[in-house]
């Protein structure tokens, strides 16, 4: 098996085992074909929300601009409304005052929706981890995160790598086993589907 994304060779991904484990095997040929078609469509038209809170936003803009141009890979246009977006790239520090705003934006995005934590601040609080009363230490305290991109800030190439990992993740989904966003919200940030069971971890 294996998930193919158009933009990158399988051997170029650094961890070729983990994401593929999420791909549910089985099901009849009709369902898997439908999955393939849906996932092909979803993964190649992930539209990010125009949302950036600090310097990572500049790198995100660079990734969207002519030189790096992540529209090539289907991250076509930044959408100014969460109603039209599929993805939030959390580019920058989230403070306690910003957190409810971010949460509301996430809730307003229609399912299926994805979150990339870009940069040290969104991953863990980064340089603002210590001695601050206002910074959220990692955006996963507010909304569930699909892909983490380290760096301070990550270069556009790193963001491209991250969005391709997200494409792989999208391609591992199945309509038989949809993510339940409401339950994720209630039970925590890791979707139950993505917890490896015994047979998968062997």
């Amino acid at each position: 098996m294996g998930i193919k994304i158009k933009s990158m060779k399988q051997s170029d991904f650094k961890d070729n085992e983990t994401l593929e484990l999420f791909k549910e095997t089985g099901g009849n040929i009709l369902l898997t074909t439908v999955d393939d078609v849906i996932n092909w469509g979803r993964s190649n038209s992930l539209w990010p929300l125009t949302f950036a809170t600090s310097c990572c936003g500049i790198e995100m803009m660079a990734a969207g601009a002519a030189r790096h141009d992540f529209a090539r890979f289907g991250f076509e246009v930044y959408r100014a409304s969460p109603r039209q977006a599929d993805l939030i790239v959390v580019a920058g520090t989230i403070v306690r005052k910003m957190a409810p705003v971010l949460k509301r934006l996430y809730d307003q995005i229609a399912d299926p929706k994805y979150v990339i934590a870009m940069g040290a601040c969104a991953v863990s609080g980064g340089p603002f981890f210590y001695n601050t009363y206002s910074v959220i230490r990692g955006v996963e305290h507010v909304i569930p995160v699909d892909v983490y991109i380290p760096g301070c800030p990550p270069r556009p190439e790193a963001l491209l790598y991250g969005v391709m990992q997200l494409q792989r993740k999208v391609k591992s989904e199945s309509i038989m086993n949809m993510r339940d966003y409401d339950r994720e919200h209630l039970e925590g940030t890791i979707p139950p589907k993505y917890k490896l069971n015994d047979s998968q971890s062997e």
Binding site: R96, K97, Y130, N131, T132, Y133, S134, R137
Partner: protein, 154 residues
């Protein structure tokens, strides 16, 4: 006016004023009781005309608190920094200057929000930013601020 002339002018109003050498801006340290008198004189006097308050902030020096005022004249383009010294650190207060400069209204609320310095006779002495985070957050820029839940010390 040159810095030296400003110095003489300030000394006529506040004889107790202390000046510190600074590369660019004339800096004057005064007791908090003299603040309003000095600011009013600097604004109203024709040869100084400090009509623009471009910064107002607070400092916590652990044993005392300070409120810093940056004034500029848009006519003569000279600047002065006034540091009003407030002894002690509990229940610190200073007279407002929001009736002289309207912009001081929000600045003073910000200083109150972060340092807990109250401004007497201020028209609306409430918090300005932090009440949206948590109403009981305290004054986080004070040296003695403790928050065991949200702050990881290092």
């Amino acid at each position: 006016m040159s810095n030296e002339e400003l110095k003489q002018f300030i000394l006529t109003i506040v004889p107790k004023a202390e000046f510190t050498e600074s590369k660019e801006l004339l800096t004057v340290s005064i007791p908090k009781e003299n603040l309003k008198k000095l600011v009013k004189a600097l604004k109203d006097s024709a040869e100084t005309t400090f009509d623009y308050l471009f910064n107002l902030t607070g400092v916590d020096y652990a044993d005392h608190m300070t409120v810093v005022y940056h004034l500029e004249s848009t006519r003569y383009h000279h600047c002065v920094v006034i540091k009003a010294q407030i002894p002690g650190r509990d229940d610190v207060s200073i007279e407002t200057i929001s009736d002289i400069y309207k912009t001081a209204d929000f600045h003073e609320r910000e200083v109150y929000d972060f340092f807990g310095i109250t401004f007497k006779n201020h028209p609306d002495m409430r918090r300005i930013f932090l009440d949206e985070i948590a109403p009981d957050i305290g004054h986080p820029l004070r040296k003695d601020y403790v928050d065991e839940i949200n702050i990881i010390e290092r």
